[in-house]
């Protein structure tokens, strides 16, 4: 069976119910792809081949007996190794977690299994989710399927790589400053961070509980929507229908979000906006007044919470962390309470400013990343003539919506001339309102390509 491992969940489901293929066949195809490509991409920490085949055969038997669990029935899904799957280690890509075995499934895994998903394995990540490139991992860096010398983004880098490379139909990641949207953008797939608090983060190793989210990465908005609804639970999740683009009111937050962009990222973004306008969308400019203070606010919030969680192990076993992650966790222990309190105030102000920017608009539209996927090992990048640390650049356009909790989704938006994915980000007031807008925009910007040279 050719390329069934690259099907969307939607198409897989159609062909499964038409008896053109089985869940076992598609799972085997994904496992074969993992065997072939994981040595090169290092997307997986644990491949659950036997269990996955067993779950896939069970899914096929259930369907044959008339029990259809819904759109995710039989779909092979990978899981970021920050999330508990019963009977397997949750390593967080760290030697700190040596010997751990999860006793229970995280609620998100319970929901996915109830929906019939097949869990194919645990994916690589930036250690303890505290990074944006997946370079610092006890298991070595994950690599971008579009260019293995480049980062797949992070922290859910292995997750994104697993979907982009056809090792799973979709994946479950987490996002504290951008860790679903950043790797989705770097790998050319869709990544959804729902509204904060909508989906349980139980059974997931925390980085910063007030900023942590879980969510899907998938090939299409429809697939991400199907995953999201399965995670929400309830009976027979349905996909969203797109809203009409003609008359759709969108807003671009200029200034801080659009000043410093790679030239090709800017070009693809401008082309995406042009296409949306040509289809009848009304795109206005808005300003988020205190946006430039987002990094300072985010830093104080994430450092303080992460330090509290890691304090005991930083004292008992500091050598088990990768050195870069250890150092960033250590500085969290120097954050002063008065500055943390100022960050909390800033968070409320930013939340009101994003709400205000959204007033009268269906969504904000901005790039997801200001740069294409950076080279593995790069400490800094040149963006618009300015040298910027990679970590700062990768977080710059996503972290605000962790601070405020607004739902946000990354959509593929063409490539650079060298074939590196570009991405746009849509931000809304509510996830259920954002998804139909994302569907509509996805259809308009599909197939964006750089101009031919020469």
């Amino acid at each position: 069976m050719d390329n069934v491992n690259t099907l969307t969940i939607e198409e897989f489901g159609r062909r499964l119910r038409a008896r053109e293929l089985t869940a076992e066949q598609v799972t085997d195809a994904c496992l074969h792809r993992i065997e072939e490509d994981n040595p090169r991409l290092n997307a997986f920490i644990l491949v659950m081949a036997d269990r996955a085949r067993q779950q896939a055969r069970e899914a096929d038997r259930e369907l044959a007996a008339g029990r259809d669990r819904g759109p995710l029935h039989g779909a092979p899904i990978s899981i970021k190794d920050l999330i508990d799957v019963a009977g397997t280690p949750t390593t967080a890509a760290s030697r700190v977690r040596e010997g751990h075995v999860a006793a229970h499934n995280a609620p998100a895994i319970v929901a996915l299994r109830e929906a019939g998903a097949v869990i194919i394995g645990k994916t690589n990540l930036h250690e303890f989710a505290f990074g944006t490139t997946n370079e610092d991992s006890a298991f070595g860096p994950a690599r971008n399927p579009h260019d293995v010398s480049r980062s797949p983004g992070g922290s859910s880098g292995g997750s994104a790589a697993s979907v982009a490379a056809g090792m799973a139909l979709a994946t479950l990641g987490t996002d504290t400053g951008g860790s679903i949207r950043i790797p989705a953008a770097a790998c050319g797939i869709v990544g959804l961070k729902p509204r904060h608090g909508e989906l349980s983060t139980g059974g997931i190793i925390p980085l910063s509980r007030m900023l942590d989210h879980i969510g899907p990465l998938a090939r299409t908005v429809t697939d991400a929507s199907l995953m999201y609804r399965a995670l929400r639970g309830g009976s027979r999740p349905r996909s969203s229908a797109p809203v009409p683009v003609s008359g759709l009111r969108l807003a671009v937050p200029r200034g801080y979000f659009c000043e410093l962009l790679d030239d090709e990222v800017r070009a693809r973004f401008d082309e995406a906006i042009d296409r949306l306008r040509a289809a009848g969308a009304r795109v206005a400019d808005v300003t988020i007044r205190h946006a430039s203070l987002t990094p300072a606010i985010y830093l104080h919030l994430v450092l303080a919470e992460a330090a509290a969680y890691h304090a005991a192990t930083l004292e008992r076993m500091p050598e088990r962390y990768t050195p870069p992650v250890r150092l960033r966790l250590e500085i969290g222990r120097y954050v002063l309470a008065e500055d943390y309190t100022r960050a909390l105030t800033g968070r409320e102000i930013l939340r009101r400013e994003v709400d205000s920017a959204l007033t009268g608009h269906a969504a904000l539209v901005l790039p997801t990343l200001p740069i294409p996927a950076p080279p593995i090992g790069a400490a800094s990048v040149q963006v618009g003539g300015v040298t910027e640390p990679v970590r700062s650049a990768m977080l710059r356009l996503t972290q605000l919506f962790n601070v405020t909790g607004h739902p946000a989704i990354a959509l593929p938006a063409g490539d650079t001339r060298t074939g590196l994915p570009c991405s746009i980000q849509l931000v809304g007031a509510e996830t259920d309102e954002l998804l139909p807008v994302a569907l509509a925009c996805e259809a308009q910007i599909a197939g964006l390509q750089p101009p031919r040279s020469g």
Binding site: L293, P295, A296, L299, E330, L336, R342, T345
Partner: protein, 53 residues
């Protein structure tokens, strides 16, 4: 605690602990602290502020 005195103390503590590589990270945190302390939403005990939280 002023940012300057905090930074001096933090760097000294990091060096005492054998973590000189913390210094640039502490300096970056100090810059973030200054941004928060200079933010126009901060009130002070005189009752003056440009934004009300």
């Amino acid at each position: 605690m002023t940012i300057e005195s905090w930074l001096q103390a933090a760097i000294a503590d990091a060096e005492r602990r054998g973590l000189p590589d913390l210094k640039p990270l502490l300096e970056a945190l100090a810059r973030a602290m200054k941004l928060l302390r200079d933010a126009d939403w901060n009130e002070d005990a005189t009752g003056r502020s440009t934004l009300h939280g």
